[in-house]
Subunit: 408 residues, 2 copies
């Protein structure tokens, strides 16, 4: 009854992500580029800023003219004019001269610093007193200080957040070349599974996995498409999977939680043309009965039926495949270090992922592992993250510091 | 030249969020509900699961029939039949009887536990040996164990992630009532600001803020609409702001970074009907010259012109207003505790936000404060988070533990 598992270890499975092709490129308007992944290095077409720019409201000066200035002994400077915004100033400062300048204004020739208006007083129409000395370079951003013309400002694989969007705007990228979102087909299986809109009769359950997995696909940067429920085993699954493969870059088949259903899923996957079963079982818990096939150039996954197991497997294995398809090199992993609130046992020879809540305390986070069964949805709703326990570890003691991978 | 600031402290400004109305409700399909905020408590229309459900492949048993069973002395049970998936079983277990059951199958009457298939052997067509004793309740989820019929499963204000989407699916919510996304109008000001598609001439800069702020609005759950650049002071700004107020729930005016431009922004805001300047200056750094007006029932913000300042103000002040408009009570704040890598000075009487990088080390995160000027975009691109230094603190010493608010 129980199928034979050629169990593969987690890191070996994740490494297989690199053997599948990336998605094609497309150009999107900058306004639609949030959370997309840059496909090519982006350069700046200009120096940023393009000129020496004041960062304060005040007066452009030659720093040397202010040396020794103080409340008791202010420096007197002659006002040569006012710098207009958005234009190159036409005036040039001679020694002993100054010009009124606003934040963002361009420094006139001859000036090398800005003195804040708070540190000056107007003596008359033509003269100010300066109460502080400023060194050259003070209160200004020099031409190209942020980024230089022609320089790479963001490398391929960067996930675009608001700051990156701002930087692309500064450097003239009205459009951005990104990887297309991989289209991920989702199929539920199981004789007991009914759509969300149906009221389950005894023995039936609603199709939770399609919805939870679709949402996870979206958070990973994919484009989720659901293909319905294969209730009747191979008879239903084969045409649904064939349909999904025709339009999708990857397919997730979730459930049947029973061995019988899993066997039928495997049979259908094996029966496809150009199909190669790469993984039949991963040495992780939860999620051991996961299947991965290469069908043509596309990964097809058989995920566990229990929703919490399916979500953990998505998080630790499927998500890296989606990121690989996007050419992503996300820089900042959302993890926190936390202190375990109790001992956790773990079996050697497999990588365990323990759902956990996090509580912020004075000295850092406390991790409260959630015991719940994988078939319960509320253990996923309650969980803030996952603790990874390595294969060669028998368990973790209370008060130990652990890294918690935050769930999105 | 410098306007008089009625500086308000940060917490007072944030508390004003509650004085503005929430957005209206709308129903969205569950498949589109990711990252939306639930507007009303959601209940379950059924017990979840709706029946006592096996979590293993194996045999349904009366636990008492297995007591004392071991490898040396197995229990013998008569096979009464096989439980079908997706249906209520018709058989009833008598003492000494068992039935084959798959994961997700419904326990037959008379059974109170499941024994894993690995702990059994088939003796003949009608008989199994059992090598482990199981207590009642073992390897099953009882009816309603996850959630009970009529119970509140998620409360109003919950941000919907994949796990919550799964739970809503389980409890029959094909549609979800959420708060409409607040529509946030964005206007840039400044004589020196040109569109991204233009090549700036000397003294000009591209409109970075509109793009960075739009992206931040999206990450906060709002719907960003840009209204262009008011280059010519009041003359341009008044019609743009009037147009934005006609269709938006909130307006962000960013820049002019100069006091002159800020004064013009304030003049235009004051000149609107039903306008009340609530805040003219916040005791934070960066971001002091922030303006908040109530125009009718809508918040209108004057944000600093420097992009890094505008982004910090958005993160710490504007974002809470958007969350309030959504009725959000986001549970898990993305913060980490980190050890400071160097001393940071801070002025008393204001709340400082220090951009910082994070480095994951063995014992937790190290926070490397980024010194950069607010006019530089790369300090925001490089930053992983913000350290908040309270008003009554003069600074923070190296090696101190600090809470870092992660940037999205």
């Amino acid at each position: 009854m129980l199928g034979f598992f050629k169990v593969t270890d987690l890191d070996t499975v994740i490494a297989m992500a690199g053997t599948f092709p990336l998605t094609n490129l497309e150009k999107v308007p900058l306004a639609s580029a949030l959370h997309r992944t840059l496909a090519v290095d982006a350069t700046s077409d200009i120096d940023i800023p393009g000129f020496d720019r004041s960062t304060m409201d005040g007066y452009a000066v030659r720093g040397a003219d202010t040396y020794g200035a103080s409340d008791a002994s202010p420096a007197w400077l002659r006002i040569a004019g006012t710098i207009p915004m958005g234009e190159a100033p036409t005036l040039t400062l001679a020694p002993g001269e100054t010009a009124a300048i606003s934040t963002g204004g361009m420094l006139p020739e001859g000036a090398d610093a800005v003195v804040m208006v708070e540190h000056t007083d107007r003596v008359d129409e033509e003269t100010i007193e300066v109460y502080r000395s400023v060194a050259p370079g003070h209160h200004l951003i020099t031409r190209g200080e942020d980024f230089g013309e022609g320089k790479v400002i963001l490398t391929a694989g960067t996930l675009l957040g608001p700051a990156e969007i701002g930087l692309l705007a500064a450097s003239g990228h009205g459009e951005v070349e990104v990887h297309k979102k991989p289209v991920i087909g989702i199929i539920s299986t199981g004789d007991e599974v009914v759509p969300v809109t149906a009221r389950p009769t005894t023995g039936e359950i609603r199709d939770v996995n399609s919805h939870a997995l679709s949402a996870m696909v979206e958070t990973a940067g994919g484009d989720a498409r659901t293909f319905g429920i294969a209730r009747d085993g191979e008879g239903d699954l084969n045409p649904l999977l064939t349909e999904a493969l025709a339009t999708c870059d990857m397919v997730l088949i979730s459930g049947g939680s029973s061995v019988g259903m899993r066997d039928r899923t495997l049979t259908v996957m094996e029966g496809l043309e150009e199909s190669d079963i790469l993984v039949h079982g991963i040495s992780i818990s939860p999620g051991k009965p996961t299947i991965l096939a290469r069908v043509g150039e596309k990964p097809v996954w058989g995920l566990p039926g229990h929703v919490a197991s399916a979500m953990v497997v998505f998080e630790v294995v499927v998500r890296p495949f989606i990121m690989a398809a996007l050419g992503s090199k996300a820089r900042f992993r959302p993890t926190v270090v936390a202190r375990l609130s109790r001992n956790i046992a773990s079996a050697q020879g497999r990588t365990d992922f323990i759902r956990t809540r996090l509580q912020l305390e004075e000295t850092g986070y406390r991790a409260d592992p959630l015991p719940g069964k994988s078939g319960l949805i509320h253990t996923m709703v309650d969980a803030d993250g996952l603790i990874r326990i390595e294969r060669d570890t028998e368990g973790l003691y209370r008060d130990r510091l652990v890294t918690v991978h935050l769930l999105s």
